[in-house]
C-alpha cells in the first residue's frame, strides 16, 4: 500500500519536532541555561514557525546547486583574469574594506548562531539558527575564495583576519558583532537577524552588489547574490523571531523595543562605512547612499514597522536623525579616510570632477555647500604639494568606535557632535545621542571596549609611531596611501593604459 501523501507543512513538522525531549536526569534549565536570564518570556516554543520549512536533504541539494554555480564563476573569473574587466582598480578599495570588515562578521555570525542553535529551548528555533550558522560560515568561506584572486593581483587584501582584531577602523565592525555575541541569545538575534539583517542588510548587499555589477566585478556580484538567497531566509527568520517574541508575552515588548533601538543605531553606525563605499569607493555608483536609504529604510523599513505596529513596536529611536544624516554621512566618512590615507589598508583618492557633479546632483542640499569645497581644497593642496595627512589617529566614539566626525546635522552641520558620560569617575566620549544612550544603559559593558586608538597610547599596538603601528597591523607600505602612483595603479595602467578614473589624493 503506498504511503499517504504528506503536505509540506506536515512533513516539515514531523521532521523537525518531537525529536527533542524534556530531560529528566538533568534539569532543563541546566541543559538550556541561557534562554531565560534576559527576561524574555516564552510560554510555548511550539508556536515558533519557520516559513521556509527547509529539511536537511533539501538544504544540501539547493545549497550544493548554488555552490556549483558560484565556483564555476570563480574558476572562470580567475582563468580569464576577470580583474582586468573592472571599471578601475581604485574600485578595489571597496573590496579591501569588505574582506577586512565584513567577512569576519560573517564568521562571527556563524559562531553566534551556533550558540543559539544549541541554546534555544525550542526545537524549531534551534534548527533555524543552525541553518543560519552554517550559512554564515558559507558566506565567510565563499568571500575568502572569491577575493583570493584579487589578493593575488592587488595589495591590501593579504591579511584580513589579523587586521580585523587590531586596525583602528575595523574595531567598528568587530565591536558591533562582539557586542551582539556577548549579549544574551534573544538580544543577539534581535541585533543580527532583525536590526541588521531585516532592517538594514539590504543597504549593504543589494546596492553594493548591484554596484559591483556596475563596475565589472562579476566575482563579487556572484558571491553577493548567491549569499543573498540565504539572506532572504535570514531576514525572514529575523521578522519571525520578532513576531514570536512579541506574540508570546506582552512583557516582552519593552525589552524588544529597547534592543531594537540600540541595535538599529549600532548597525546604522556600522553602515556608515558602507555609505563611503557606495558613494566614493565605487567608480560608478548605481544608487547613492541617500537613495538607498530612502528606498530600503524609509520606504521598506517604514512598511515593516507599520506592519509591526499592531504589536505596539515603534520605529527605532533616532531613525529621524539617521534619515537627516543620510545627506552627510558618506562625505564625512570618506573625508576622514582621505585625511588618514597614510593609515588605511586600502587606497584613498579624491573624487573626480565627474564624480563631484554626480554627488552634487544626488546631494543637492549638502554636497556643494559643505563638502565640495573641502575636496577641491585638498586637490589644490595635492597639486601644490602642501597636503598633509593627520599626524595622529583621531579619538573614537566609545560605543560605535568611529572617529568623532559626525556633526549636528539638524542644527549646525559644521558643528561636531560630541557627548560625554561619566562612569566610576572616568569620562567616556560618544558621537551621538544614540551611542550615548547605549553607553548609559550598560556602562559596565562599554567601559570594557578595546579602543584601538587608546590602545596605541597605552603602548599595546606595536609602538608609538604610525609606522610601528602599521607594521603591527601588517599593513605593508604599498597597501595604503594615494591610489594614484601606487603599485595597484601602476599594474592597472600596465594592463589598461593610462586612462585614470580617479584623481590624485
Amino acid at each position: 500500500m503506498p504511503a499517504k501523501k504528506l503536505n509540506l507543512r506536515k512533513r516539515y513538522e514531523l521532521l523537525t519536532r518531537g525529536m527533542g525531549w524534556e530531560t529528566t536526569h538533568q534539569d532543563m534549565d541546566d541543559v538550556f541555561p541561557y534562554d531565560s536570564f534576559e527576561g524574555i518570556k516564552i510560554t510555548d516554543w511550539d508556536k515558533w514557525e519557520d516559513p521556509f520549512r527547509l529539511t536537511m536533504d533539501a538544504y544540501w541539494k539547493f545549497q550544493a546547486e548554488k555552490e556549483k554555480k558560484l565556483y564555476a564563476v570563480i574558476d572562470s573569473f580567475a582563468q580569464n583574469n576577470g580583474q582586468t574587466n573592472l571599471s578601475d582598480a581604485s574600485y578595489l578599495s571597496a573590496i579591501k574594506l569588505f574582506i577586512t570588515g565584513v567577512t569576519p562578521l560573517e564568521y562571527g555570525a556563524h559562531r553566534g548562531f551556533a550558540h543559539l542553535g544549541r541554546h534555544f529551548r525550542g526545537d524549531g528555533a534551534r534548527i533555524a539558527c543552525q541553518m543560519q550558522a552554517i550559512d554564515e560560515l558559507r558566506h565567510a568561506q565563499t568571500q575568502i575564495h572569491t577575493i583570493s584572486h584579487y589578493n593575488k593581483h592587488f595589495n591590501g587584501l593579504h591579511d584580513p583576519f589579523h587586521q580585523f582584531d587590531r586596525v583602528w577602523y575595523l574595531s567598528v565592525p568587530k565591536s558591533f558583532v562582539e557586542d551582539a555575541m556577548t549579549a544574551g541569545p534573544f538580544e543577539f538575534i534581535t541585533s543580527i537577524s532583525f536590526a541588521f539583517e531585516y532592517v538594514l542588510t539590504n543597504m549593504l548587499f543589494v546596492p553594493f552588489m548591484s554596484g559591483a555589477a556596475y563596475n565589472g566585478d562579476m566575482a563579487t556580484v556572484t558571491f553577493g547574490f548567491s549569499a543573498q538567497s540565504d539572506e532572504s531566509r535570514h531576514m525572514t527568520l529575523g521578522l519571525e523571531i520578532i513576531k514570536f517574541m512579541l506574540e508570546q508575552h506582552e512583557d516582552n515588548l519593552p525589552i524588544v523595543q529597547r534592543w531594537m533601538d540600540k541595535h538599529f543605531w549600532r548597525a546604522y553606525r556600522l553602515l556608515a562605512l558602507v555609505s563611503a563605499m557606495q558613494d566614493y569607493m565605487l567608480t560608478n555608483s548605481p544608487l547613492s547612499w541617500k537613495e538607498a536609504w530612502d528606498v530600503y529604510f524609509v520606504e521598506n523599513g517604514g512598511a515593516l514597522f507599520e506592519d509591526l505596529s499592531r504589536y505596539g513596536l515603534k520605529m527605532p529611536k533616532y531613525h529621524e536623525l539617521a534619515t537627516a544624516e543620510a545627506e552627510h554621512l558618506s562625505h564625512q566618512v570618506w573625508s576622514v579616510f582621505c585625511l588618514l590615507g597614510n593609515a588605511t589598508g586600502f587606497h584613498t583618492f579624491l573624487p573626480t570632477e565627474e564624480k563631484m557633479d554626480w554627488l552634487s546632483e544626488k546631494y543637492p542640499n549638502t554636497f556643494d555647500k559643505y563638502y565640495r569645497p573641502r575636496f577641491e581644497h585638498w586637490a589644490k593642496q595635492k597639486e601644490e604639494g602642501t597636503f598633509q595627512y593627520l599626524a595622529a589617529l583621531p579619538q573614537l566614539c566609545q560605543v560605535c568606535q568611529i572617529p568623532m566626525i559626525f556633526t549636528e546635522v539638524e542644527t549646525d552641520p559644521m558643528q561636531l557632535s560630541f557627548r560625554v558620560s561619566e562612569y566610576k569617575g572616568d569620562k567616556y566620549n560618544t558621537c551621538s545621542d544614540g551611542c550615548k544612550d547605549i553607553f548609559d544603559h550598560e556602562p559596565e559593558k562599554y567601559a570594557q571596549a578595546w579602543l584601538p586608538v587608546h590602545q596605541i597610547f597605552q603602548g599595546n599596538s606595536g609602538g608609538a609611531t604610525i609606522p610601528e603601528v602599521l607594521e603591527w597591523y601588517k599593513f605593508a607600505p604599498e597597501d595604503g596611501g594615494d591610489y594614484i602612483g601606487s603599485q595597484d595603479h601602476a599594474r592597472w595602467q600596465e594592463w589598461k593604459g593610462a586612462d585614470d578614473k580617479v584623481k590624485q589624493a
Binding site: 499517504k4 541555561p33 555575541m181
Partner: protein, 336 residues
C-alpha cells in the same frame, strides 16, 4: 592569441593570503580548504566579556583542558569546506532520495516480515533521538571550540546529525505508511522503555559537560564508535538476513557517513595525543570514562537487538573502537 598575451603579462604578485604563506610557504597557491578554515576566528583584543559566561573570553582556549600549541595543527582529512561538503552530501542525499522513493513506489515494505519491521521500530526508530542529541552536542562544540577549522568541522557534523535524525524519522514514517505510530512509539520507548534509559541518562549528562573536548570524545569518538557499527552495521546485517534488506537501503546514508567520519576522528585523536603527555592522559581518561558508561548503557539495547548474542556483538564493537583509538595513539585504554 589574446589569452596568451594576457597570460604572459598578467602575473600574480602573491600566491596566498599572508597567514597561509606563513604556515605553508609561498611556493604554490593555498588550497581552497586552507583558505576557508585557517585563522578566520578572531584571537585577540576582544571587546567585551560575554554576559552569559564572564569566566571566559568570547573565544577562549581555556574552555577545554586540552592544550595545543597551535589549534590549527589538526586538518580535516576530507578537506571539507562548505562547497565540497554540501556537494558531497548532495550526492548522498540524491541516492537516499532515490532509495526512499523506490521503496515507497514499489511498496517494498509489504514484503518485509512483520517481526523485522517491528525490530526496526524498536531499535532503529528511537535512534532519531540519539541523532538529535548528537546534533545538539556538535552544535555545542561549534559554539565552544577554538579555531575556525574546528568550528567548520563541528558545524558540518551537527548538520549531518540533523539530516540523519530526519532520515530515521522518514524511515519511521514509511514503516507505517506515513502514519505517525512508529514515531510515537519510538519516543515513548526512548522516554520509558527500560532498555533505552541508561543511554538517555548518559546523553543527558553529556548535555551539561563543561569541557567541549570531553564532549567531542564522548559523542564523536565513543558513542558514535559504538552505535554506528553496532546498530547501523551489525544489526542491519542481521535484519537483512531476516528479510529486511529494504531497511538497509534506507540507512545506507548512515553507513557511508560513519565510514567517512572515522577518518577525521582518527586524525583528530592522533594529532591531539601526539601533542603532549597531558593531552594523551586526558584522552585516555575521557575515553575510558565514556566507554565504560556507554557500553553499560548500550548493553540492554544490544540484548534487545541481538538477543543472546547481544553482549558479544557489543564487546566486539567496543574492541574495534579501542583498537582503532590505540592505533591512533591514544594509549592506556582499558581493553577488558
Amino acid at each position: 592569441m589574446s589569452i596568451e598575451i594576457s597570460a604572459k603579462t598578467i602575473q600574480p604578485v602573491r600566491l596566498s593570503y599572508g597567514n597561509l604563506k606563513e604556515r605553508f610557504g609561498d611556493k604554490k597557491p593555498a588550497s581552497r580548504y586552507q583558505e576557508a578554515v585557517y585563522d578566520v576566528q578572531p584571537t585577540t583584543n576582544f571587546q567585551y566579556l560575554p554576559i552569559w559566561n564572564t569566566k571566559h573570553e568570547l573565544y577562549d582556549k581555556s574552555k577545554t583542558a586540552i592544550v595545543m600549541e597551535d589549534w590549527y595543527s589538526f586538518a580535516d582529512p576530507r578537506q571539507y569546506y562548505y562547497g565540497t561538503y554540501t556537494i558531497a552530501r548532495s550526492k548522498q542525499q540524491d541516492v537516499a532520495e532515490h532509495n526512499f522513493s523506490f521503496v515507497d513506489k514499489r511498496d517494498l515494505f509489504d514484503s518485509v516480515p512483520e517481526e523485522v519491521k517491528q525490530a526496526a521500530r524498536e531499535i532503529l526508530v528511537p535512534l532519531r533521538h540519539v541523532e538529535w542529541a548528537a546534533n545538539m552536542n556538535n552544535c555545542q562544540i561549534t559554539d565552544e571550540c577554538y579555531g575556525s577549522n574546528f568550528s567548520t568541522l563541528a558545524m558540518f557534523n551537527a548538520m549531518d546529525r540533523l539530516g540523519m535524525a530526519q532520515y530515521v524519522t522518514r524511515l519511521g514514517l514509511l514503516l507505517d505508511g506515513n502514519e505517525e505510530t512508529s514515531l510515537d512509539a519510538g519516543k515513548q520507548a526512548w522516554m520509558e522503555a527500560p532498555e533505552w534509559q541508561g543511554l538517555r541518562h548518559a546523553i543527558e549528562d553529556m548535555f551539561v559537560l563543561d569541557d567541549w573536548f570531553e564532549l567531542m570524545v564522548a559523542q564523536n569518538f565513543v558513542l558514535d564508535g559504538l552505535v554506528f557499527p553496532l546498530l547501523y552495521d551489525r544489526f542491519e546485517k542481521k535484519l537483512t538476513v531476516e528479510g529486511g534488506a529494504t531497511i538497509a537501503m534506507l540507512t545506507e546514508f548512515m553507513d557511508d557517513w560513519y565510514k567517512e567520519t572515522v577518518r577525521w576522528t582518527n586524525a583528530l585523536a592522533k594529532v591531539t595525543a601526539k601533542e603532549s603527555e597531558a593531552n594523551q592522559e586526558l584522552l585516555s581518561k575521557w575515553t575510558n570514562k565514556w566507554t565504560d558508561r556507554l557500553v553499560g548503557a548500550l548493553e540492554p539495547v544490544a540484548a534487545k537487538a541481538f538477543g543472546a548474542d547481544g553482549i558479544e556483538q557489543l564487546t566486539k564493537v567496543k574492541e574495534e573502537l579501542l583498537a582503532r583509538l590505540t592505533k591512533s595513539g591514544v594509549t592506556g585504554l582499558k581493553r577488558s
